[in-house]
C-alpha cells in the first residue's frame, strides 16, 4: 500500500515564500491574541493559586456551586466542568493555612449538598514563590533545549542546517503557544512538557530531510541546492507523512481516551505534531537555502 506514490515532485522550494507568509501570519495572530488577552492564561502552576477537583453524584449547576461558595468568599472563583459530573474550581488564592481552601470548600459543599454527595478528588495549591520558580525553569528548559539541538545539529551537519532546524522549532513553539492563547486554554506545566516533546519530535522530521539533502548534495554536486533540497523533500515525503501519521494517531487516542487530566497536554501535542510536520517540510529546509544565498558553503565555494 502507498499513500504517496514514489516520484512525487512538488515544488516545495518554489512555494517557500507563500509558506513563510502563512507562518508569519499565524505567528502574528497568535502574538496579537496573547497581547489581547493580556498574557497567557496561566494555570496555577505558574500563576499560583488553588485548584480543587470535585466529583458529584449528580451534575450540579455552576450557579448552585457558586451560591454555596458565597459563605466562604469564593463566589468569584473560576468554576469549570471537567469530564462528566465533575467540576474544577480555581482561585488565585494560595492559603498557607493548614486546613486550607479544600477544607473550607468541603464544609461549604457539605452544608448545601450533604456529606456523601460529592468527593474531592484532587487538590493543588501552588504558592506564588513556586509559581515564579517554575516559570523561570520552564523558560530555561525550552531555551536550553533549543541550544542543545543547535549544537547537536551543527556538530552532525553544518551550522546553516542547525539554524534552519532551530528556527523551525522556535516557529513550532510560538505557533502552539499562540493556538493556546487563541482558544484561551490554560497554560500549565504539562503544556511546557508538551512543548519540549514537540521540540524533540519536530526536529526528527527535519533531520530526516537534512540527512537526505546531505546525501544528495554529495551525489549530485552539479545540481543546484534549490533542486537538491526540493528533490530531498520529495524523496522523504512519504516517510515524513507516515511517521507523523502514526504519532498523530496515538496522540488522537490520548486526546479522546486519556482522560480530562491530560486532555490539554494531548491537545498541545496534536497541534505540535501538525505544525512540526509542516515546518520540517516548508520552513526548515528553505531556510538552509536562504542561508546559502547569503553565505555559500565551503563545498560550493571550493568549486
Amino acid at each position: 500500500m502507498e499513500f504517496i506514490k514514489s516520484g512525487t515532485n512538488f515544488d516545495f522550494v518554489g512555494r517557500m515564500k507563500i509558506a513563510l507568509a502563512c507562518s508569519l501570519a499565524v505567528i502574528v495572530i497568535g502574538m496579537a491574541s496573547i497581547v489581547w488577552h493580556g498574557g497567557l492564561n496561566y494555570g496555577i502552576d505558574f500563576a499560583g493559586g488553588t485548584l480543587v477537583q470535585i466529583k458529584f453524584q449528580k451534575e450540579p449547576s455552576a450557579d448552585a456551586i457558586r451560591n454555596a461558595f458565597t459563605s466562604i468568599g469564593l463566589e468569584n472563583s473560576i468554576i469549570q466542568s471537567f469530564g462528566t459530573s465533575e467540576v474544577v474550581i480555581r482561585t488565585a488564592e494560595s492559603s498557607s493555612d493548614q486546613r486550607g481552601l479544600s477544607g473550607k470548600i468541603e464544609d461549604a459543599l457539605t452544608a448545601v449538598y450533604g456529606k456523601d454527595s460529592f468527593e474531592i478528588r484532587r487538590v493543588e495549591v501552588v504558592g506564588p514563590k513556586v509559581g515564579s520558580d517554575l516559570t523561570r525553569k520552564a523558560i530555561l528548559a525550552i531555551v536550553f533545549s533549543w541550544i542543545g539541538m543547535l549544537i547537536y545539529i551543527a556538530w552532525r551537519f553544518e551550522f546553516r542546517y542547525a539554524v534552519g532546524g532551530i528556527l523551525a522549532l522556535v516557529h513550532d513553539v510560538i505557533i502552539t503557544v499562540g493556538v493556546f492563547s487563541l482558544l484561551n486554554k490554560e497554560f500549565d506545566l504539562t503544556i511546557v512538557a508538551a512543548l519540549l516533546t514537540i521540540i524533540g519530535y519536530s526536529i526528527n522530521d527535519t533531520i530526516v530531510v537534512y540527512d537526505r539533502i546531505r546525501e544528495n548534495v554529495r551525489k549530485n554536486v552539479k545540481q543546484s541546492l534549490a533542486d537538491t533540497i526540493n528533490a530531498s523533500i520529495n524523496q522523504t515525503l512519504s516517510r515524513t507523512i507516515l511517521t507523523s501519521f502514526t504519532v498523530f494517531l496515538v496522540v488522537v487516542v490520548l486526546f479522546f481516551f486519556g482522560g480530562a487530566v491530560i486532555h490539554d497536554f494531548a491537545f498541545a501535542l496534536l497541534v505540535g505534531v501538525v505544525v512540526g510536520t509542516y515546518s520540517s517540510i516548508f520552513i526548515a529546509s528553505p531556510i538552509v537555502l536562504a542561508f546559502e544565498k547569503i553565505k555559500p558553503s565551503r563545498l560550493k565555494r571550493s568549486k
Binding site: M1, A141, I142, V192, D205, F257, V261
Partner: protein
C-alpha cells in the same frame, strides 16, 4: 552468516525475557509460590497521581533560624560580659541586616569586649565599630561561612525531624527529600487525612516551660503596660459543653526554663476523671534534674506549658517533682493527642516551615487515570499495529512484533530500576508506540526505494538498514536531548513522562532496528527470495 544471526537472536531473546522477568510481578498478584520465589518482588512503582496521595513542598524559614541563633548568642554574650565585669550597653541590632550592637563606655571596655569576643565567640565578627560621642559602638554579625553552615544544618535537621514524624505516623513508603537550598519535598502515598498530615509535618512543636508572672497584673499588661522581662501569651481552652475554643491571656516571664529538647519520651494516656486523652512526657536525666530544680524553687507558683507560642496549661506547682515525669493536658481529641506525642518525640523543628506547594490526588481519581491510561495504550497500540500491517504487510507484522517487545522491555525496565510510572508517563509510552515505528517506517520506505531502483531484495534490505540507521540515530538523539531537559525541569508527573519517553526511545533503537533486522536476515539468509513483502 547463520552463526551471526543465532548470536543476535540469542541476545534479543535474553533481553526480552529479562524485561518479562522484571515485569511479571506487576502484571498479576497471584502467581504460583514457586514463581514468586525466583521473580523479583518489586512491582512497577506508581506515582502519586496514579495511586493517590499527597505531594508537599515545604520551605524552611532559615532566616528565622538565623535570627533566633543570633538572639541566643547575644544573650550569651551579655552574660559572659557580666561575668567578666565588662561595662556595656546592649543596643537592639537591626533584624534585617542580622547584626547586634553593643555600646561600650570607653576604649578599655572595648579592648576587654574584643577579648571576650575573640576567646568565646569565634563565629562572630565585627561589622562596624565607631565612636559616637566618646562612646564606642560595635556591631556584630555571624561570619558568612558559618551562617551558611548553620543554614544547611537547619535544613538537614528539619528534614530529619520531619522524617521521624512521618515514620511514626505510619505511612508506607513516604519519600522525604531535600530540594534546592531550603526546600523539602514530602511525598505521602495513599494518605487519607491530608489536613492531619499537614498539621503533623508543619508544626514547629517548640515546647517551652515558662513561669507565670504573678507579681504583675495581666489587666495592666493588656492596657499596654507590659513589665520588663514578661510578655502576654494566650491560653487556648476548649469548652467541653459548647465545643468552642476560648483564649485567655496570661502574663508569662520571657525566660524559658526548659524546652522539649530535654524530652526522652512522650505518650498518649487516658485521664481517670473525664476519660480524656493527655500526653505524658518523660524528661531525660539532664532534663529531669533541671525539672526537679525548677519545681523545687517555684512551689506554689504557676508553670506554663507553652507549645508553639500557645499556652496549653498553666498548673500550680504543688510540690517538687523528681523523676522527670510530667503531663500535658489541654482537652485534646484522641488524634490530636497522638499527633502531639509524635511531634514531641520526634523533636521540634529548628525553624518554622511553610507549605509552598500541595498536590493531592484522591485514590478514585488515581484509579480512573490508570484505567484511562491503560485503554489509551491498548487502543493506540492496536491502531498503530493495524496500520503497519495494512501498509507494510509482512514487514509490518515484523515491526509489530518489535513494538510488543518494546513495550515489554519499557515496563520491565521501569520495574527493574524502580522508576515511577505517572499518568504523563503512560502518555509517554503511548507516544513511544507512535514514535518507535518511526524507525521501521524509515527503514521500510528506504527498502522500497532501493527496490524501485532494481536492487535484489537482499541488497535492498541491506542498504535500507545501513542508510536509515544514521538518520534514526540522529533523530532519536535529538528527542533524547529534549527529554533530558524535560527531566531536569519537571516535577513528579512530568519527570515520569521524560523517563518513559527516554526509555522508550532507547529501547526502540534496539527493537525496531536490531530485532527486526534479525528476522529479516533469518528469512533471506539461505533463500533466493524474489520479493519482499513491504
Amino acid at each position: 552468516m547463520l552463526k551471526g544471526i543465532k548470536v543476535r537472536a540469542a541476545i534479543a531473546i535474553v533481553v526480552s525475557l529479562a524485561g518479562l522477568f522484571f515485569l511479571t510481578p506487576s502484571l498479576t498478584a497471584d502467581l504460583p509460590d514457586v514463581w514468586k520465589k525466583y521473580l523479583p518482588a518489586d512491582k512497577i512503582h506508581l506515582g502519586l497521581d496514579l495511586q493517590g496521595g499527597t505531594h508537599l513542598v515545604l520551605e524552611v524559614d532559615t532566616d528565622k533560624a538565623a535570627e533566633s541563633t543570633l538572639e541566643r548568642m547575644s544573650n550569651e554574650i551579655k552574660e559572659t560580659l557580666m561575668t567578666n565585669k565588662v561595662r556595656f550597653l546592649y543596643l537592639e541590632g537591626t533584624k534585617k541586616a542580622r547584626t547586634i550592637s553593643f555600646e561600650l563606655p570607653d576604649s578599655a571596655s572595648k579592648t576587654a569586649f574584643e577579648k571576650v569576643l575573640k576567646d568565646n565567640y569565634p563565629d562572630l565578627e565585627i561589622v562596624s565599630s565607631e565612636t559616637r560621642g566618646g562612646k564606642e559602638v560595635v556591631a556584630l554579625k555571624i561570619k558568612t561561612k558559618r551562617a551558611e553552615e548553620l543554614k544547611k544544618m537547619v535544613v538537614e535537621q528539619s528534614l530529619e525531624t520531619i522524617r521521624n514524624r512521618v515514620d511514626q505516623f505510619g505511612i508506607s513508603e513516604p519519600e522525604i527529600i531535600p530540594q534546592g537550598e531550603d526546600r523539602i519535598v514530602v511525598q505521602l502515598p495513599g494518605i487519607k487525612d491530608t489536613t492531619r498530615a499537614k498539621n503533623l509535618i508543619g508544626k514547629t512543636a517548640l515546647l517551652e516551660f515558662k513561669l507565670v508572672d504573678e507579681e504583675h497584673s495581666i489587666e495592666n499588661a493588656l492596657k499596654g503596660i507590659v513589665p520588663e522581662g514578661s510578655s502576654i501569651v494566650y491560653e487556648s481552652r476548649l469548652d467541653r459543653q459548647t465545643g468552642r475554643r476560648t483564649s485567655t491571656p496570661l502574663l508569662l516571664k520571657n525566660k524559658t526554663l526548659l524546652t522539649g529538647g530535654y524530652l526522652e519520651s512522650a505518650q498518649v494516656k487516658i485521664g481517670d476523671r473525664f476519660a480524656e486523652p493527655y500526653v505524658a512526657i518523660k524528661f531525660n536525666p539532664q532534663g529531669a534534674k533541671e525539672f526537679d530544680r525548677i519545681t523545687g524553687e517555684n512551689v506554689k507558683k504557676r508553670l506554663a506549658i507553652v507549645l508553639d507560642g500557645t499556652v496549653h496549661s498553666a498548673p500550680v506547682i504543688q510540690e517538687r517533682i523528681s523523676g522527670g515525669d510530667a503531663q500535658i493536658t489541654g482537652q485534646f481529641t484522641m488524634d490530636e493527642a497522638k499527633d502531639l506525642a509524635i511531634v514531641l518525640r520526634a523533636g521540634a523543628l529548628p525553624a518554622p516551615v511553610t507549605i509552598l506547594e500541595e498536590r493531592t490526588v484522591g485514590p478514585s481519581l488515581g484509579q480512573d487515570s490508570i484505567d484511562k491510561g491503560l485503554w489509551s495504550t491498548i487502543i493506540g497500540g492496536l491502531l498503530v499495529m493495524l496500520f503497519m500491517m495494512v501498509y507494510y504487510r509482512l514487514s509490518g507484522i515484523v515491526a509489530n512484533a518489535a513494538l510488543v517487545i518494546n513495550i515489554i522491555i519499557i515496563l520491565g525496565t521501569l520495574a527493574a530500576f524502580k522508576a515511577t510510572l505517572t499518568l504523563p508517563g503512560i502518555a509517554g509510552i503511548v507516544l513511544t508506540i507512535g514514535m518507535a515505528v518511526d524507525a521501521n517506517v524509515l527503514i521500510f520506505e528506504r527498502i522500497r526505494e532501493e527496490l524501485r531502483t532494481g536492487k535484489t531484495p537482499r541488497a535492498a534490505i541491506e542498504t535500507g538498514y545501513s542508510k536509515a540507521f544514521l538518520t534514526i540515530l540522529d533523530s532519536n538523539v535529538t528527542t533524547l536531548i529534549a527529554a533530558l531537559f524535560l527531566f531536569g525541569f519537571g516535577t513528579g508527573p512530568v519527570k515520569g513522562f521524560a523517563v518513559t519517553l527516554s526509555i522508550g526511545i532507547i529501547v526502540s533503537m534496539f527493537t525496531a532496528v536490531f530485532v527486526t533486522r534479525i528476522i529479516f536476515d533469518y528469512f533471506i539468509w539461505d533463500r533466493k527470495i524474489k520479493s519482499v513483502s513491504v
